[in-house]
């Protein structure tokens, strides 16, 4: 089933694991939750359930995951904030799938998001023929969440105008959504298990700042980039393997190249190399997700156009494309990184770093 979709939802992708956890779950569950908080933690942070090995899906901060689970079991919403590419969306999907069995009940925040996308809208044909009735109502993911006692996910909430964001306040305060057009039947009370998981990109800070009133209704968690290069390398390898498998690309994953990419992204993000040399940080997002994308592009290109081996020149070209998107200075910063850090590592370590350094001429 999984292979029939480009990106199957989490509950489909990990259906066997969720089933195993559910079957062996003896912990106390908040009402309407599919799994207990302990089982949700195992699903996200890894462990074992009824003889089935549950691999870790979120790396970095275990306590953050625990706080997220407990927040969702309470009365406040959960707001995940952080740099782009820090797996906020993935974490919110994992939490939704594990707690409610559904990760697709989502509002995507954009500059064009309107209040009816958040609350409800109408099927105008039915509205004209039958008048305001339940049948003519098009429920928003928020309304679906309230009625079914599941989570509603609100992606990129700060891309949405502030006045639209504020339409969440009454729902979160009173757990009630009023649909005046339906008269006496228009009062929707949230069922137990309903909650909201928001995500907000810190690079959007100030675009549509959340009101104090709305902030008070959320517990915030800041998702930081992965600080451990070894962990970042593991993620690149694992994610690239998964993507290659999904794309039927039978290309071996070169761990040396994955490490090199992890180091490059880590050092450019931190502005300092492992040897202590200060390098300029590019303005572009240097996330692990971007590194995975660069690597997948490289093996994909090699698979379709090359001999299936990782071509270092292609890697550098893809890196160039990923880093130099918005700011012309980023090219110079990348060149400087190659001149200093990559050249030094090529001399010291040799191997893949040497081949990598020889591709510096492609940076133009």
């Amino acid at each position: 089933m999984e292979q029939n979709y480009i990106k199957p939802p989490v509950e489909v992708r990990y259906a066997d694991q969720l089933a195993a956890l559910e079957a062996s779950d003896t912990g106390k569950k908040p009402e309407n939750w599919r799994l207990s908080p302990k089982a949700v933690r195992t699903f996200i942070l890894g462990g074992e359930a009824g003889g089935v090995k549950i691999p870790r899906k979120f790396y970095g901060n275990d306590a953050l995951v625990e706080r997220c689970i407990i927040t969702l079991a309470g009365s406040r919403g959960l707001m995940l904030v952080g740099e782009p590419g820090t797996a906020k969306t993935m974490l919110s999907e994992l939490l939704s799938a594990a707690c409610c069995g559904v990760s697709t009940n989502t509002v995507q925040g954009t500059a064009g998001t309107t209040e009816d996308m958040i609350k409800y809208s109408w099927n105008y044909a039915l509205l004209l023929s039958k008048g305001p009735c339940r049948e003519a109502l098009v429920p928003s993911p928020l309304l679906v969440g309230m009625e079914n006692g599941i989570f509603a996910r609100f992606e990129e909430i700060t891309r949405t105008p502030a006045e639209i964001q504020d339409s969440l306040i009454s729902v979160m305060s009173d757990q009630i959504l009023n649909i005046p057009e339906l008269g006496d039947e228009g009062l929707v009370l949230a069922k137990p298990g309903f909650n909201i998981i928001g995500t907000a990109n810190t690079r959007d800070k100030g675009v549509n700042e959340m009101s104090g009133a709305l902030k008070r209704r959320f517990n915030f968690e800041t998702v930081m980039p992965i600080a451990d290069v070894r962990l970042e390398k593991e993620i690149i390898i694992r994610e690239a393997e998964d993507m290659a498998k999904a794309g039927h690309i039978d290309c071996p994953i070169d761990t040396d190249v994955a490490e090199l990419l992890a180091v490059t992204y880590h050092e450019l993000r931190e502005g300092r190399t492992a040897e202590g040399t200060v390098v300029e940080k590019p303005a572009a997002v240097m996330s692990t997700a971007e590194a995975v994308s660069v690597y997948y592009q490289t093996i994909s290109h090699s698979w379709y156009f090359g001999d299936g081996k990782t071509d270092m020149g292609l890697l550098t070209e893809n890196l160039l494309g990923a880093v130099c998107k918005e700011n012309k200075d980023d090219l110079e910063k990348l060149k400087a990184y190659f001149r200093t850090a990559v050249t030094a590592k090529a001399k010291k370590v040799g191997g893949a770093w040497k081949a990598y350094s020889e591709t510096a001429g492609l940076l133009r």
Binding site: I70, A73, S75, V81, M210, R216, N219, F220
Partner: protein
């Protein structure tokens, strides 16, 4: 717990000696393992004392402080307190460097060792320390290990090993625990309260044995652990042999070592060195929670000491063990919310409720029976931090941490063991009638040069400042270090005695037994460590302020520093400082003539190096000129013998090919000042600049700057220099003029206002105007003003690099 710590395997992992680790209330010996400052260890130890009913309590601690135990348990003593140990290695038993050593042994309400002492006193059970005396520990420790590491402050209670155990690290990896603090709190502090004393003892032994097994024998030997354990075991055996029922309270990691030595039997007594009171000693001292918390960093002590002391107090007051952490963390949560609100961080009751709910939920999720500091910290993170977690938004966490650390300072009740420096301090305060017992800040005005008391108290305050006691603060008065406010004849000080004063004085015990001696020794060390003339001169100024004459060895040290320093500017600064001291010696009644000798040494070195400074880079040229002025000034007085040599050096500089124009100008100015006939040479040099290309002419401005700095009167003598200056300034294109403008402004800043007025008058004459015309002009019509304004904006645009419109 059983599964995690494998208690059942204690006998297996501890080997044959494991039988001595058994908890047997009817036995003769109970080895009770503790972590320093751990409330649960203190709690279970009190239970064990009750159950075991020992006839003697032996405690890990250097035994040369045994006579201070009554001071620590005195009713008037308030914790945190500490025993301060010092040892002066004059006999070179520790190392050939004959260094001084010191360390603190802190006691908090939650310290098991303190609880053992207090329980012993309450129950009439003798209690004493059994570890090697401090000096013997040092003698048996290899350099840079144990108490001989390079840490700034040493604590006897070092729990580093507990925190570096591979066992706990593996456990953390498995369970997602973030740190040793969280691990310890969860498995020991909170869960340990549910256990019986016997089970707790067993769990501690198991963890400590597993941890000790990670350590190599070589390492244990190197840091003195094995030697200490042999001695402690000997003391325990000694008590057992005399029929005592012994409860030994030691760090958990020592238990297995002690058991092994006791099991092996035939323990030989340690041969202790004879030490006199002036080279080895111990004093009780007030300690602070902040200092105790700092141990968390380098000695892996318990963090947040006020919070854990609060736990101990609650347990002693009979709080329910099953709720004590829940209550304490809730109280701290509320206190954090209140303090956050006081600092304008919006925290509502709903936030507190949410944080509490998160804490409770996390405790359940983590299988910990009560909310600890880890859960509290997570609750605050979730509910109080709104938006991205940054340094500023995470302020509630900082507030919580500060409250949990506490700001309390202890007090020593029994004053019969006052450390020598504190005694000297109090004696001098009495002598000068200073209100040293008050915590209210006191102001005092000291006339420096009338009567003896003013200067004597000033010196006393300067000495205390030199030892960084924080007792006195100079509000107003001469600043001899920077040569500021030298004309002031009074000093205004503000002083107050705080616990920090005592702590700093005690810290300097190894430096001497009187404040004067301590200052002299610190100064001697400063001289010895200083490789630069300017640094050494600053130390000499400190000695001058403190009224401490330099010793012969310090004088020799200074000579050597001046002789070996190759930095022109360092020696120049040294000359300036020594000159200042020489000038003030009589005024301050400090008849130390040695500064004249250093001035001569500095002058000799500077003169020989001066020609090499002729072509100094731009950024130091003005500094060179300043030093040249100083040299000229001093050779006009006390160093007159050097004037001819200086003149020769200046002449050499004047004919050097490559010259910095400002230095050259200064040279010509000084030569003119020495011999007025050389005015023509200075003029010729200026003409040389005027007749050159635009680049050379620009240098003329720098030349004038140097010249005016050293011989400003040259421009006032007649109008030739003024005309040349005028020619220089009017001959530039606008852009070039703007370039030299800063230099010219600086050049004219060396004149007094009346001289500038005279120069302005002469300049006006050159252009056929009057000086008054420069100050007030005709009424300007509106159109002209508008034109001027437009011109102004064009100039501004040009200056900022913009296009001219």
């Amino acid at each position: 717990m059983e599964g995690i710590f494998g208690n059942g395997r204690l006998a297996e992992i501890a080997g044959a000696a494991g039988e001595l680790l058994r908890y047997d209330p009817d036995g003769k010996l109970l080895l009770f393992p503790v972590r320093h400052h751990s409330p649960v260890c203190a709690f279970q130890l009190r239970r064990a004392i009750e159950e075991f009913s020992p006839t003697v309590i032996l405690i890990e601690g250097p035994e040369n402080a045994n006579d201070l135990i009554p001071v620590l348990t005195d009713e008037l003593t308030r914790l945190p307190a500490a025993i301060y140990y010092f040892y002066k290695d004059k006999k070179k038993l520790v190392s050939p460097d004959a260094e001084d050593y010191k360390c603190y042994y802190p006691f908090l309400e939650s310290s098991p060792e303190y609880n053992a002492l207090a329980e012993g006193k309450a129950r009439g059970i003798p209690a004493r320390f059994i570890d090697l005396p401090y000096c013997e520990i040092l003698i048996n420790t290899v350099s840079s290990k144990g108490l001989r590491t390079d840490a700034e402050k040493h604590s006897y209670t070092d729990d580093t090993r507990l925190a570096r155990s591979q066992f706990y690290k593996r456990l953390c990896e498995k369970t997602g625990i973030r740190s040793f603090d969280e691990f310890w709190e969860k498995y020991f502090e909170i869960e340990g309260l549910k256990l019986s004393a016997e089970d707790f003892c067993k769990m501690m032994h198991t963890y400590c044995v597993l941890t000790r097994n990670d350590e190599s024998k070589t390492e244990l030997e190197a840091d003195g652990t094995l030697a200490r354990e042999r001695h402690m075991a000997y003391r325990i055996q000694e008590a057992l042999d005399s029929g005592e029922k012994v409860l030994a309270v030691t760090g958990g990691l020592h238990s297995l070592g002690l058991a092994q030595v006791l099991k092996a039997g035939k323990i030989k007594p340690f041969k202790l060195h004879k030490m006199t009171a002036d080279i080895q000693g111990a004093f009780p001292t007030a300690y602070s929670y902040q200092a105790a918390d700092a141990l968390h960093g380098y000695a892996s002590g318990m963090n947040c000491p006020a919070f854990y002391d609060g736990i101990t107090a609650r347990l002693k007051n009979g709080d329910d063990e099953a709720e004590v952490y829940n209550n304490a963390t809730l109280e701290l949560l509320i206190a954090t919310a209140k303090e956050s609100s006081k600092r304008d961080i919006p925290v509502s009751i709903a936030d507190v409720t949410s944080a509490k709910s998160v804490m409770t939920g996390l405790a359940a999720l983590r299988n910990v029976s009560q909310c600890g500091l880890a859960e509290l910290s997570d609750g605050i993170t979730s509910a109080f931090i709104k938006g991205e977690k940054t340094m500023s938004s995470a302020m509630p966490l900082t507030i919580m941490r500060t409250l949990a650390t506490g700001d309390g300072v202890g007090h020593i009740g029994d004053k019969s063991h006052v450390p020598p420096l504190v005694a000297d301090f109090e004696k001098i305060c009495e002598q000068y009638k200073l209100k040293y017992t008050s915590v209210i800040p006191q102001d005092i005005d000291l006339p420096l040069f009338t009567g003896e008391k003013g200067i004597a108290v000033s010196r006393f305050f300067h000495r205390l400042n030199y030892l960084h006691t924080g007792f006195a603060k100079l509000v107003k008065g001469p600043d001899l270090h920077h040569g500021r406010d030298r004309s002031r004849v009074h000093e205004q000080w503000n002083y107050r005695r705080t616990p920090q004063v005592d702590a700093s004085l005690i810290d300097h015990t190894t430096d001497g037994f009187t404040i004067e001696e301590a200052c002299a020794n610190v100064a001697a060390r400063s001289f010895a460590e200083s490789g630069r003339c300017d640094d050494a001169a600053q130390t000499a100024i400190s000695c001058f302020e403190m009224g401490i004459p330099l010793t012969e060895s310090q004088t020799a040290e200074l000579d050597s520093i001046v002789a070996n320093d190759g930095d022109f500017f360092s020696i120049g600064e040294g000359l300036r400082c020594f000159g200042r001291l020489y000038d003030l010696r009589k005024l301050y009644n400090f008849e130390d003539e040695s500064s004249l000798a250093y001035m001569n040494s500095c002058m000799g070195k500077l003169i020989s190096a001066l020609p090499m400074m002729t072509n100094s880079p731009d950024d130091v040229a003005d500094d060179v000129v300043d030093i040249m002025r100083l040299m000229f000034s001093l050779t006009g007085g006390v160093l007159a013998d050097w004037r001819d040599t200086l003149e020769d050096a200046l002449l050499t500089m004047s004919v050097t090919d490559e010259k910095h124009p400002a230095v050259y100008g200064a040279v010509m100015g000084l030569l003119y000042a020495i011999e007025a006939d050389r005015r023509g040479d200075a003029e010729n040099a200026m003409r040389g600049y005027l007749s050159g290309s635009a680049e050379v002419r620009k240098k003329g401005a720098d030349y004038l700057r140097g010249l005016f700095r050293t011989a400003g009167d040259i421009v006032l003598a007649d109008d030739s220099f003024l005309k040349m200056t005028d020619e220089l300034m009017t001959g530039f294109e606008t852009a070039d003029f703007m370039e030299i403008l800063p230099s010219m402004r600086l050049a004219f800043s060396y004149f007094t206002p009346s001289e500038i007025h005279d120069i302005a008058r002469a300049a006006a004459d050159i252009h056929g105007g009057k000086a008054d015309d420069l100050l007030s002009g005709d009424v300007i019509d509106e159109g002209l003003y508008g034109f001027g304004k437009m011109l102004d904006s064009l100039i501004t645009a040009q200056l900022s690099g913009g296009e001219q419109k």
